[in-house]
């Protein structure tokens, strides 16, 4: 049986933990707001980009001279999985759910006899994947020193992916990240970015505008496709960032509540033990007095 002093120490330490988790929750909440605004600010650009690309690409996709970024290499033997995770933990299942999705995809691809390569963005994903796929990880990148996610970070990643694509190191590239739906719900998502999947324009969209192109269509396309890659990655990073803080916020909220429960239970036990001890002492005194 723990002594009363031990119990007091334990309660105090649980209280300290609760203070920390509470503080982390509040920090995450304020950072979440900023991340959410950033993700929303990036949306118009990405949406417009999508619209323009799908407009041009549907026309160009059928033609034999379509760029490899759109039409693919004609193979799907080697897959590159671009896994974006957070830099830090203490965020519930955020990192592991992205990693789990990527791992499942990788295993099913391997089972089909394909070759799989990983490009990890973020420390946590790298650490988790390294255990199983150490040899397949071709590159990993930490964004730890990055304070404010900028487009430049996404461009940097896109450039590295493109360099590998141009060198013929892979045929298909899939991006893994967590889509931010709400504070309590983040959805791990896989999105194929090379070759680009163009959504067919909705049938009820009416006749599409016929544009004039300046310079030529395919030249615009060759400029646009690498840029679109960076935009998609940027969007994934921002969504990821918002998801991370959302996940951390709800994880810390849970932790704070659990700590509160625990403090209540421990205090109850402490008080019972203390009263039992007092009663015991009283009985001893009274029976001692009676014996006289």
């Amino acid at each position: 049986m723990a002594s009363l002093k031990d119990m007091r120490v334990r309660i105090a330490s649980t209280k300290a933990t609760q203070k920390i988790t509470k503080a982390m929750q509040m920090v995450a909440a304020s950072k979440l707001r900023r991340a959410q605004t950033a993700a929303e600010a990036a949306r118009p650009y990405a949406e417009k980009m999508d619209a323009v690309i799908s407009n041009i690409a549907t026309a160009a996709a059928g033609s034999p001279g379509a760029p490899a970024l759109l039409a693919g290499t004609g193979n799907d033997q080697v897959h590159l999985l671009l896994v974006c995770t957070g830099e830090r933990g203490l965020s519930g299942a955020f990192n592991s759910s992205i990693v789990r999705l990527a791992r499942e995809r990788a295993l099913s691809l391997i089972a089909q006899g394909k070759e799989v390569k990983f490009f990890c963005v973020g420390r946590k994903g790298y650490e988790q994947l390294r255990r199983q796929f150490d040899r397949q990880i071709v590159e990993h990148l930490d964004l730890k020193s990055v304070r404010q996610l900028g487009f430049i970070n996404a461009e940097d990643i896109a450039r590295k992916v493109l360099a590998r694509f141009d060198a013929g190191e892979f045929d298909v590239c899939t991006l893994f990240y967590s889509r931010f739906k709400s504070v309590i719900s983040q959805i791990p998502t896989a999105q194929q970015i090379i070759p680009l999947v163009v959504e067919a324009p909705a049938a009820n969209a009416g006749p599409s505008t016929s544009y004039e192109y300046e310079p030529e269509e395919d030249e615009i396309l060759t400029r646009l496709l690498p840029r679109n890659l960076a935009v998609q990655i940027f969007r994934a990073l921002l969504e990821n960032n918002a998801s991370f803080y959302g996940a951390q916020m709800s994880a810390m909220d849970n932790a704070t509540r659990n700590a509160g429960d625990m403090i209540r239970k421990q205090t109850l036990i402490y008080n019972r033990t203390r009263q039992a001890q007092i009663t015991k002492e009283l009985i001893e005194i009274i029976s001692g007095a009676e014996a006289l």
Binding site: Y45, A46, V52, I220, L224
Partner: protein, 135 residues
């Protein structure tokens, strides 16, 4: 004068959105002005200065490459970077140019051509900046 809707978006934010009279866009194949009712066009944008005219006032924005799309809904410019001319940090801009010049030596072939082309665009922006500063 008829107005049309204009959006200037960069990956990080929506820099401008509203009804305007005219927009002058620095296209890859030369500058062009867009008025209401312009034919639908998709054009690549080079680094340069974009001028927005609305209600008799001019607003100049520096865009560093991108894409312009004109449709019946209006004009959208997807700029890699879009900064208002008042907000730009001249010293930093000059620094970027110096940096690009220094990097030229490492490049070769078509990459060198692209780098020189880009540098020229940047220099012309700088030139325009210093000349517009007078008035």
């Amino acid at each position: 004068m008829a107005t049309f809707h204009f959006d200037l978006v960069s990956p990080e934010k929506l820099s401008f959105s509203g009804e305007v009279d005219q927009v002058d866009v620095p296209g890859v194949e030369g500058d062009f002005g867009v008025l209401a009712g312009h034919a639908p066009v998709v054009a690549a944008v080079r680094p340069g200065i974009l001028t927005i005219t609305s209600g008799g006032t001019h607003q100049k924005m520096i865009v560093l490459g991108g894409l312009a799309e004109m449709s019946e809904k209006g004009l959208t410019v997807l700029a890699d970077v879009a900064t208002s001319i008042q907000d730009i940090d001249r010293a930093q801009f000059a620094e970027t140019i110096a940096e690009m010049e220094a990097k030229l030596a490492e490049k070769e072939g078509t990459e060198l051509d692209h780098a020189i082309e880009r540098l020229d665009h940047f220099k012309s922006i700088e030139h325009q900046l210093s000349s517009t500063a007078m008035h």
